[in-house]
């Protein structure tokens, strides 16, 4: 199947096309110790966030998908190619930005990125051209003739990103891309990741322990704990769903207002003297609430859309640990999977 033809950001393509990453009971053991345990699921998003506390197995999962560690049982597929049998084909489709400092010393940045492009199979002239382009894209255009050894941490992160995208991969693994970056540099990195995502030319897997980074970039979230998948969450679905979940701050006769809400079929909960939580039903508009409030002689002082933040989801997952529900396999996108603690 020609994956280049199916634009990653085309929602229509998700229903029938195979997932970006399919985990099929994937387990990895090191020296008899289980590191990843029976991971299952199909990921289809443009940007997939991999979350978990230190030692949860995020990096091991990425390394296994890259073919660095052999699975002890089960397997995984990337663009419907098996990581056990089609490793080389898979590697030609992916880019990888490692967590640790990784570069080749005594090379100028453009030489380093060009070298990496050539190893990915680009002819020398095309590799050089794309190396320049990639370095301009990440913002290292002016520093591209400097040796990578002399770069600051932030510049090294950018150089690592440049080598990961220089050959134009269809799937990019970013392992803690904002590590050690100051706030402006972090913002730039996040902006670039979003740009790549929004270009529709590549899928991104972003591994991080920084919830904000993941929340800002990703639409699908996997949370790992002790080598198990504990949460699969489709943030995009979550965002859509939670537009109907409102927090109201009121003044006036709240009881009468609350009673009239049930006539609209809305569920509600009184959370304080002047506070209400309301779940809007389909077909109910916010203006209906204002109409009811007016009729009940009540003021709506503040109305906010409320949803579980990623932090809430993460903390809940860490408390609850692994449960038994599997991730959706071969289902349509976001079909009842949003914000699910497994």
């Amino acid at each position: 199947m020609d994956y280049a033809a199916a634009a990653p950001n085309d929602p229509q393509s998700h229903g029938s096309a195979p997932g970006v990453i399919t985990l099929d009971n994937l387990s990895v053991r090191f020296g008899g110790r289980p590191i990843l345990q029976e991971l299952r699921g199909e990921l289809r998003g443009r940007a997939i966030g991999l979350l978990g506390p230190n030692g949860a197995g995020k990096t091991t999962l990425i390394h296994t998908l890259l073919g660095f560690h052999p699975p002890s049982s089960g397997t995984a597929r990337i663009f419907d190619r098996d990581i056990r049998g089609d490793a080389n084909q898979i590697k030609s489709l992916i880019g990888y930005m490692p967590e640790r400092d990784s570069f080749i010393s005594k090379m100028s940045c453009v030489h380093f990125v060009r070298f990496m492009a050539e190893l990915s199979g680009l002819p020398p002239a095309a590799a050089l051209e794309r190396a320049h382009e990639a370095l301009f894209f990440v913002g290292l255009g002016e520093a591209r003739y400097r040796n990578v050894d002399t770069f600051s941490l932030g510049m090294k992160q950018l150089a690592k990103l440049a080598q990961a995208i220089v050959h134009g991969p269809k799937l990019i693994f970013l392992d803690e891309p904002t590590n050690g970056l100051d706030p402006p540099a972090r913002q730039r990195m996040i902006k670039m990741i979003r740009e790549i995502r929004d270009s529709g030319q590549a899928h991104i897997v972003l591994s991080s322990h920084l919830l904000r980074d993941v929340e800002e970039c990703c639409e699908e979230i996997l949370i790992l704990k002790e080598g198990r998948l504990v949460v699969y969450c489709n943030l995009e679905e979550e965002r859509k769903a939670n537009k109907k979940f409102l927090m109201l701050e009121t003044r006036g006769d709240q009881k009468a207002f609350a009673a009239s809400l049930s006539t609209l079929g809305c569920e509600y909960a009184v959370t304080g003297e002047h506070r209400l939580k309301v779940i809007l039903q389909d077909g109910t508009e916010i203006r209906d609430l204002y109409r009811l409030a007016s009729a009940a002689q009540m003021q709506i002082r503040r109305l906010t859309f409320k949803r579980d933040s990623l932090e809430d989801i993460f903390l809940k997952a860490m408390e609850n640990g692994a449960a038994e529900l599997p991730l959706p396999v071969g289902e349509g996108r976001g079909e009842g999977v949003s914000g699910r603690t497994i």
């Binding site: 020296g31 890259l66 990496m116």
Partner: protein, 305 residues
Amino acid sequence: MAVLERTYKQYEGRLTPEWSRFLIIPRHAYRDVFRSKLFTAFFALSFLCPLIFAILIYLHYNASALGLMRLNVRELLPIDASFFEAYVVIQGVTGFFLTMLAGPQQVSRDLTNNALPLYLCRPFSRSEYVVGKMSIVIILLSAITWAPGLLLFLFQGYLEGWSWFAENIWMASAIFLGSLVWILVLALMSQTISAWVKWRVAARAALLGVFFVSSVFAGVVNQLFATRWANIISLYNLIANVWAGLFGLFVRRTSEIQEFRQGRVIREVVMSEPPLWASWFALFLICAFCLWLLSRKVKAYEVVK
């Protein structure tokens, strides 16, 4: 060039054939290697010996040049198997020093800077990486050993005539095979040492040690135990035997030690060199051991057990 577009885009052009990608490593490595003036000078000097050997061949067939130098052709080295063996030995030793300068930093630099994941996350296998790193030494040493050696052979064949060439064609294979075996041993050893010893100076010392210390150690063991079998651990003896064997000059030397007391022989020890096959086998074992060590070290990430 579209550097001003600054957008992410996929590459849709043609790709290089997979089999040729290991050659990218030596191509880029030579930029760094030839930046050293010492190395460049030494590399240029390594062509001195082939030049001298070419002159010697030329002198055999040029009466006026011999007359000018007031030499008789019988005073010159004969152009036979020992002539070409001497060439292989001299260039082999030169190649060893060249390897010492170029080899030890190749893998260690990648390990120190965690660069292996960058290689191995691409359609580039561990074996291609090892072959690529080895070819840095293989190509360099080929340029100073068997390649000019074969040219010398062709030169001699051209001057002496077709019958000599046809009779002695086996010498060409001896030049090629003898050099190649030594190059492979050196390439494997230098990359293995480079993978395990990160400090460049220490890695060079280790390579020197493997070559010289093993010979000294073998000599001591031979003396202590009145044997010649310790030559099996001397890298120099091993390769010298292999070269001699390829050129048909291997002689299994035997010596005797007699211990006298009051004019009577009380003990007689006969010492024989190990047979030729033992040298080949020992070299094979060394290469296999190096490969095993390399395979343990050349990994994207080391799993701490």
